[in-house]
């Protein structure tokens, strides 16, 4: 596996910033917004060196998503789900570093499903019943795209 051990952190932070901006501006297009959100939370945020930074990016993604949707009466559920899943993904990346692309796709697909269930569960806990939408389906369909991007920028790290 080709691991870039000297990948610039600036590029990583820039990608995360662009993803966060895309989550904000893609509010009228739920499918695109869901893909950008999943890319940031499941792909880019766990790659930060600091777990605190990873949690902050995940929380920011959750708050921006819920704030742009403007449909939930009480916010915070998505951010909590994001932070929880980021910690889990970081732990799995440390325990089982990705070596091939296709297994990584499968792992990300599983995390996408888990993320969707966790987000909807915590949003229901915070804001009550709500519409699910088709964002998770779009994120799942685009796993080969954003997972490949994440796989290319992945650097081994110790949790």
């Amino acid at each position: 596996m080709n691991r870039s051990t000297s990948a610039p952190a600036v590029r990583h932070a820039l990608l995360a910033t662009l993803s966060l901006a895309l989550v904000q501006v893609a509010a009228p297009w739920p499918g695109l917004q869901a893909v950008a959100h999943v890319l940031l939370v499941l792909g880019l945020a766990p790659e930060f060196r600091s777990p605190l930074m990873a949690m902050l990016w995940a929380a920011a993604a959750g708050w921006v998503l819920e704030g742009s949707l403007r449909v939930y009466p009480h916010l915070g559920g998505t951010a909590l789900a994001n932070m929880t899943l980021v910690l889990i993904i970081r732990w799995t990346l440390a325990q089982w570093p990705p070596r091939d692309r296709n297994p990584f796709w499968g792992r990300m697909a599983v995390f996408t499903l888990v993320h969707a269930l966790l987000v909807h569960g915590l949003v229901r806990l915070a804001a009550g019943p709500h519409a699910w939408g088709s964002g998770a389906l779009w994120a799942l369909l685009c796993v080969p795209i954003w997972s490949t991007l994440v796989f290319r920028i992945h650097r081994p790290f110790r949790s």
Partner: protein, 293 residues
């Protein structure tokens, strides 16, 4: 010395921050019920450009879909109109012959009302007038009471006379036949003569003296002297006049369209020379104006 993971060192402070962040969110969603209106307003304001763009995009798609729908409806309506026009054209073609025949019948009926004679209508079933010794064949014959030497006319003028009669058909000798002779008179000079056919739609008047003054365009009527036609039926107009020895050679353009005649009227045998005008309708006197006895 081993560092404590939750002690007051950079690693410990980071762990405490993460725990605080996570627990803060958990307590936030469990214990508070703030609607977070301010945060949503800020986010909504930041996403306003994309919302405007999405609205424009949506309007454009709706407009395009509506235009496409209108175009499809217009095409369907145009196709329907095309079919209706085709149907009307087909019906018009089918009814053309019937309408023409109806018009001809109306004109014949008008002529029949004008002439105080017992007229019979007949249809021309064969018209081989231009063939050598050709003529016209009617669909009426001896069964309809026809006899030879009965005059045949159409609304435009005189057609000819019946030449021979079979049981169910009769042949007509048209005016332009070479062996046809008809007693005629000129409209202005009142000179009489005999009309003889010289070719398709052409005939000449014989036996008109050279002293007569005849001008082209002068109408030619039947004179009634041959006991076939009554006096005054239009035969044609003078097309040319040429002096020849002691008589004039008067060429006549026949009025009746012999090649297009379809319905004709048959005059009674040996009609009177002078036609009697139809009787005036009886005058109805209102009852209120009657003089009491």
């Amino acid at each position: 010395m081993r560092r404590r993971p939750w002690g007051w060192n950079p690693e410990g402070r980071r762990r405490w921050a993460m725990l605080t962040l996570w627990m803060g969110h958990l307590l936030w969603i469990l214990l508070t019920r703030s609607p977070s209106m301010h945060w949503q307003q800020v986010m909504g304001m930041l996403s306003r450009p994309s919302q405007v763009m999405a609205s424009s995009w949506s309007h454009w798609r709706q407009s395009r879909a509506e235009n496409a729908r209108n175009l499809a409806e217009a095409r369907a309506e145009l196709q329907t109109l095309h079919w209706q026009v085709e149907g009307l054209r087909t019906a018009m073609v089918q009814d053309a012959s019937r309408n023409a025949e109806a018009d001809e019948a109306i004109r014949l009926l008008g002529l029949k009302k004008q002439l105080p004679l017992e007229l019979k209508a007949a249809r021309v079933i064969v018209n081989v007038r231009k063939a050598p010794f050709g003529g016209m064949v009617l669909d009426q014959g001896r069964d309809a009471g026809l006899v030879p030497e009965q005059g045949v006319i159409c609304p435009e003028g005189v057609v000819g006379r019946i030449w021979s009669v079979a049981d169910h058909q009769a042949s007509v000798l048209p005016l332009d036949a070479y062996n046809a002779s008809t007693a005629v008179m000129l409209g202005r000079s009142r000179a009489t003569g005999v009309l003889q056919g010289v070719g398709p739609n052409r005939a000449e008047i014989r036996y008109v003296g050279a002293q007569e003054i005849v001008q082209p365009g002068e109408p030619v009527y039947t004179s009634g002297l041959d006991s076939v036609f009554p006096r005054g039926l239009l035969v044609g107009t003078v097309s040319a006049v040429h002096p020849r020895d002691t008589e004039l050679r008067i060429q006549v353009a026949l009025a009746a369209p012999l090649e297009k005649a379809d319905l004709v009227l048959i005059l009674p045998s040996r009609p009177l020379i002078e036609l009697q005008p139809p009787a005036a309708p009886p005058v109805v006197v209102p009852k209120s104006k009657r003089v009491p006895k």
